[in-house]
């Protein structure tokens, strides 16, 4: 799973969000390291929707502008959980070999 995908799914795992919300949340999750731009974000949203990992939840009008909210699907949660397990196992293996404290994560 590529990092933008991981960050978007993680952002939506806590609850429904609109595009700008996902963008700022992804930056926060990555500790300011990753800033998703609009082109990257919406290309990823388009792909994730076509793969059934996210869906459009609802739309609201704010200041005469349409705001669209996205939600993670059950399949999206399952794939995110699988990725978390994979990353956790990799991180544990790396920590163990480096002799770092907490190697058995």
């Amino acid at each position: 799973m590529r990092e933008p995908t991981f960050l978007i799914l993680t952002a939506l795992a806590a609850g429904e969000q609109h595009g700008y919300g996902i963008m700022t949340d992804a930056e926060r999750i990555s500790g300011g390291r990753v800033r998703l731009r609009a082109g990257t974000l919406y290309a990823a949203l388009d792909r994730l929707r076509s793969e059934g990992l996210i869906d459009i939840s609802h739309e609201v009008v704010v200041d005469a502008r349409l705001r669209r909210y996205y939600r993670i699907t059950d399949e999206g949660r399952r794939q995110l959980a699988a990725e978390v397990s994979r990353l956790r196992a990799n991180a544990a293996a790396a920590a163990k070999r480096l002799g770092l404290a907490g190697g058995a994560l």
Partner: protein
Amino acid sequence: VSGNDPLARRYRRLLAAYPADHRRLHGEEMVDVLLASARPGQRWPRLADAADLLAGALRIRLRRRPDRAGDPAWRDALAVVSLVVPLLMLAGSLTVFGVLGFTVRALTGAPAYGLPGPWYWAIALAPVAVALLALLGLRRSVALAALVTGTIPFVAVFAVSDAHFPSFGAWLWIDFAMLAAVAAWLSPGPRRGREILHWWGTGGAIVMLLVSTAVVRRVVDGGGPGRSLPVLLITVVAAMTAGACLTSRAGRRVLVLLAIPGLPALAFLLTLTGMTADWPLAIPSVLAALYFPAVLVVCLAALAARARGTRRKVPPEA
């Protein structure tokens, strides 16, 4: 920053790179996100944002196939082309390249005079496999086999010095094979093409293509068309049908698709004709006999598809 300021207008211009359905669904939403992340007083899109928008548009377009773009006219046109072009190549292989005659001579042990080399056999027989796969409606197999068929003459011409194949013929062969491969890959495939053509249309296409390519063979062997009535009939009927098919969305798209290999061939042949004083009418006639019958069949199919489409309400795609 308001939605009508110069920055918003410039972002909308960049969004023109996206597919229309994506713009309809997400266009204003994306502009809002871009404006929300803009600096106060910003009037022009940042270079990084502009590049990211264009890259995003490219990613979305590359990921989509025409059948997901929701344009049934392109879908049907490509499906018909994915069936008819392999049939055209089959007919060309059997008649223009004399595969039938050579096969009989090879099987009966007749003198090997004029028997072609292995490259010739590979070039001439590969379309038989492609056409059979197309008639069976195997989309991916047709795409792959057509790709291989288009590669063989390319290798033969550039890697084998004594290939029994004229370079222009090789290029035309490559063009048609690539068109068949792309059409099969991007469309629902020859099975859909067969549905549009029906059994009588598919059979008619085979007969018509065999007849027209046989006429070409005779014209080539005879040194020119002279006052060949069959060539004249084929050309006139096909040109009239091609004109009629301009009224159909799918038909116009089929013409565009067939023009990809057809028009370069036409330009080349017309140039060549000017240099061949003793044979002024033969080459355009050869092209007409090869190209327009295919257009005729495909246009009839597209018209039939349109007629069926008006009778049956197609549900919108999700």
